[in-house]
């Protein structure tokens, strides 16, 4: 028996450490630890709830804007504000494009190198690569000359002795199975996707001024003023044309590059349809409705819970059943280890792990900055797989047709979805669905504007004097990595308590007081590891969840803590 440590886990957002027990070349137990803490929720205390989104947006710069959306929804829920339809459409467009862009980046830049050996691309025949490309897609960049150019570029890097970004790779690892031509195809599209992602996300610049961290959310709506006759309106006919061009380009890239690549790569790694299962419970808050987003019946991704891999039943989501435990997390609760609902959330950061430098964490005690969220006391997986499983089980027509199509392609039953490869397939399926819906939201904005419907923000409660003395609310969003919830309590004009329960906390959290493993920990059991110094297999399964650790680590409360906002001696005026 040997202890395997992977730290840092790279190609993820944030600081994640995996410790695992190896037994006969397989993992017999695993521990997932978040090793960085910032305390954003403490920092939010007393601040203006209208600007909470600006702060919480910085929880994450990869899935940037998801915390902004959850935050404005939470505050709007507390203050009982209904946003205009146009604001809902702009939010769908910003969030939907985020999902598409983020998923494509995940596949190529965060996950592909687990399956693709860059150095094998050198052995590929560009002519055969061209044939392969043309056999799976109509994408126009598919000539032998094009692939020769990419191959020469990789050759240049290798010949220079300076591999740059590719320096640390596990090249030649026995778990790589792609033929040289598929490797070359994937490397070419790795580079294409790098260019595509920054071109497409100009959509966020149009509607938010910049990306990462677009700056246009408002409690009550959006700051994207619309006017069919004004050249300086954020949304006008000229901008609509540009938005339409961007979303059409995204759909094309997803349909012609991303989807064919995922299917091609998956075909060589079918054994990963049986590995990396996880906890078998799935949660989706649901999202992407029409109008003001409050009617769950209109959601593109349905709301629901599936338990024990039983897709014959979908349970409703009861917000009261969500709790977080800290029995293995570096926090103290004032009254023991009893899990708490987000509205009653209470946390005091208290690091009790080993002093750095250290070799191992004390995994039998507290070992992570992540808490352990539970639904009805059960660990739940959230994310693309959870959304597709819940949608499939709920009989959502688009989702069912898309999932059945992929299963038919691999001649496999729905149970293969509960796997490492199942997560990758689910992510691709929902990306394609989402890419297909973006244009309808552009069209709806265009139509509203043409008909004189230009309301973009409900400002009836902008003035804090219109607020009740105290209120509380929550806002949910299906972010790229899964179900995201913000809970806020407002007192007077300031935030009294704020908590975010975040997708990666659900997935990457440590054991709870009952000893139940979180999804990452459960998914690694029985994973074979050919070479402990090059734990490629561990990365495959962990990456299939698309970790976002900065999101996952958060803290609430510090009720009663007092401080004053400091002055700025370096900003003297006059």
């Amino acid at each position: 028996m040997a202890r395997l440590v992977v730290d840092p886990v790279t190609r993820i957002e944030g600081h994640l450490r995996i410790e695992a027990q190896l037994d006969g070349g397989k993992i017999s137990d695993a521990w997932s630890a978040g090793t960085m803490f910032r305390g954003i929720e403490i920092i939010l205390q007393k601040r203006d709830p209208r600007e909470a989104w600006i702060w919480t947006q910085r929880i994450c710069g990869v899935c940037t804007m998801v915390h902004a959306l959850a935050s404005v929804r939470a505050v709007e829920n507390a203050l009982q504000i209904e946003v205009p339809e146009n604001a809902g459409l702009v939010r769908n467009l910003i969030a939907g494009s985020q999902m598409v862009q983020d998923h494509v980046i995940h596949f190529y830049h965060l996950h592909a190198l687990d399956w693709v050996d860059v150095t094998l691309a050198l052995k590929a025949d560009p002519a055969k690569t061209s044939q392969l490309a043309q056999s799976i897609s109509n994408y126009e960049k598919s000539s032998a000359t094009y692939f020769k150019g990419v191959q020469d570029r990789v050759k240049g890097l290798v010949a220079s002795g300076q591999l740059s970004l590719f320096t640390s790779g596990y090249w030649g690892h026995p778990a790589y199975h792609l033929p040289p031509e598929a490797n070359l195809l994937a490397v070419a599209h790795y580079l294409e996707a790098l260019t595509w992602q920054k071109d497409f996300i100009r959509l966020h610049a149009v509607l938010g001024g910049k990306n990462p961290h677009p700056q246009t959310f408002l409690v009550g709506g959006m700051s994207t003023a619309m006017d069919p006759n004004e050249p300086f309106a954020v949304i006008n006919p000229e901008r609509i044309t540009f938005l339409r061009q961007l979303v059409r380009g995204a759909k094309k890239f997803v349909d012609q590059v991303y989807i064919p690549d995922v299917l091609a790569v998956a075909g060589f790694y079918k054994d990963w349809f049986t590995r990396g299962e996880g906890v078998g419970n799935f949660l989706s808050y649901g999202d992407y409705g029409s109008g003001n987003q409050t009617d769950a019946g209109t959601f593109l991704f349905p709301r629901g819970v599936v338990l024990n891999r039983d897709i014959s039943k979908v349970y409703p989501v009861d917000p009261a059943q969500i709790t977080e435990a800290v029995s293995h997390s570096w926090y103290d609760y004032s009254d023991g280890d009893k899990p708490k609902h987000p509205f009653d959330g209470e946390t005091n950061p208290k690091y009790s792990g080993p002093k750095a430098p250290y070799d191992f964490l004390e995994v039998d005690k507290k070992y992570s900055w992540l808490k352990s969220p539970r639904y009805q006391g059960k660990p739940m997986e959230v994310g693309p797989l959870a959304r597709m499983v819940v949608g499939y089980a709920a009989g959502q027509k688009e989702i069912k047709a898309a999932v059945d199509g992929v299963l038919k392609l691999f001649n496999a039953p729905p149970t293969v979805l509960f796997s490492t490869l199942g997560r990758i397939a689910a992510r691709a399926i929902e990306t394609q669905l989402m890419a297909g819906h973006l244009e309808q939201w552009v069209d709806a904005l265009d139509s509203n504007m043409a008909h004189g419907k230009v309301a973009i923000c409900n400002t009836t409660r902008w003035d804090p004097s219109t607020w009740q003395a105290s209120s509380r609310g929550f806002g949910w969003h299906e972010a790229p990595r899964g179900s995201l919830g913000h809970w806020v309590e407002i007192e007077g004009r300031g935030i009294k308590n704020y908590q975010a329960v975040v997708p990666t906390t659900w997935n990457a959290g440590p054991r709870d007081s009952e000893g139940q493993r979180g999804p990452y920990e459960a998914s690694l059991i029985n994973t074979p590891v050919a070479d402990p110094d090059r734990p490629l297999e561990v990365l495959r399964t962990i990456h299939s969840f698309d970790p976002c650790i900065a999101c996952a680590v958060h803290v609430v409360d510090a009720r009663g803590r007092d401080y004053t906002i400091p002055t700025a001696p370096d900003l003297k005026v006059g």
């Binding site: 980046i105 050249p231 309106a233």
Partner: protein
């Protein structure tokens, strides 16, 4: 192991990037850096150097937004070339190897390229124990080892600059920016939330060309990017001068692109070149998207520029009515906090438009940044 004949120009040629395109790219860099044309040959030559300098990118208490921002680097035809200019060997969010494989790269660079490599830092560094450990080592330990042995350190984003959001009151983790966490280390700060990759790319090229950092202000931010007040460069400035203001989100003024001052815009108190270089390949910037500036490139902006929707109180020469006598010539952050204490409502109620600014130089909040300071 290195081939001495290696020439980046021919490597670029293999990627279909011609000498002419390279020169064009370098020309764009000159423009961003505000260098005269006669430097073009020097930039082209530097960019075409044989061995590529090694760069390592460290992430501490961060959100990875600055890494993502770098991926949006905006000269589309040559963005790849920007990466190929350097041997970008350690960067957790995109490097293939994890754990031991990653850590050994960092150790090798520090040992073998000592004094020659560039270190980029993203995120704040906590002084409290256990708040950021990587590979079993503390952020402080890693930063100290890597930055002290680097040719230069570039702090990208607000958190690496001065602790950013992580350091905002009550600073639960004792977070600091790089230059305060590592006294004596040569740091260039690319402030902003996130940093603007157009500026960072330009600063990198400047370093490759002259083997030195560009001229810096007193906060060690390059003057070319941080030396001008946003309000003075703003496309909505004419509306301010004419007294045309947005007073309610979505109102006529908002739809017509009028001045956002009354909605809390911090443009008059902030410096950055957003209005000139824009974001995401010059597509837009926050004020164009209808929202006020939050002053994200300014020192300790999270505490000093918030509440973000409160109107900036009276600044001398800025001609604002509300609380001039009440708050006097205080500090921006302090005055805003004070005004909040005196009554938020007063700030939010519609007020008569301020008269046009008569003395634009009267806004002295950031006048000190005009003084170049090269060394730290």
């Amino acid at each position: 192991m290195l081939s001495p004949e290696l020439d980046v120009s021919s490597a670029l040629a293999r990627q279909g990037i011609t000498r002419r395109q390279l020169a064009k790219f370098c020309g764009a860099m000159l423009a961003t850096l505000a260098l005269p044309d006669r430097y073009l040959a020097q930039v082209v030559q530097a960019v075409g150097k044989a061995k590529k300098p090694v760069l390592v990118w460290l992430q501490f208490q961060d959100c990875t937004g600055c890494s993502e921002s770098m991926l949006r680097s905006s000269n589309p035809d040559v963005a790849e070339a920007v990466l190929d200019l350097l041997s970008w060997e350690y960067h957790e969010v995109i490097m293939p190897g994890a754990g031991k494989a990653a850590n050994s790269v960092l150790d090798r660079v520090v040992n073998e390229d000592k004094g020659k490599y560039l270190a980029v830092v993203e995120g704040a560094i906590p002084t409290g124990e256990g708040f950021c450990n990587i590979g079993g080592h503390s952020a402080m330990e890693i930063a100290d080892k890597v930055c002290r042995n680097a040719a230069a350190t570039i702090a990208v984003g607000a958190c690496a600059f001065d602790g950013g959001l992580v350091r905002a009151a009550p600073n639960p983790t004792g977070a600091l920016g790089v230059q305060e966490a590592l006294p004596g280390v040569k740091v260039m700060n690319m402030a902003g939330c996130p940093h603007n990759p157009a500026n960072t790319a330009a600063a990198l090229v400047h370093f490759l060309t002259f083997n030195d950092l560009p001229a810096l202000d007193q906060y060690n931010r390059p003057l070319f990017a941080y030396g001008r007040i946003i309000h003075d460069q703003c496309e909505r400035r004419a509306h301010y001068d004419a007294g045309r203001f947005v007073v309610d989100w979505g109102d006529e003024g908002h739809r017509k692109g009028w001045c956002l001052y009354k909605m809390g815009c911090k443009g008059p108190a902030a410096t950055f070149n957003c209005p000139v270089v824009g974001w995401n390949d010059h597509t837009s910037w926050p004020i164009r998207a209808g929202h006020g500036c939050i002053g994200c490139a300014s020192p300790r902006f999270w505490d000093h520029m918030s509440p973000f929707y409160d109107r900036i109180p009276s600044v001398p020469g800025f001609g604002v009515e509300v609380t001039a006598g009440e708050i006097g010539l205080g500090l921006v952050g302090a005055t805003i906090a004070g005004v909040t204490a005196h009554g938020l409502i007063k700030m939010i109620k519609p007020a008569p438009p301020p008269p046009p600014v008569r003395e634009t130089d009267g806004l002295t909040v950031n006048q000190e940044v005009q003084q170049p300071r090269k060394e730290n």
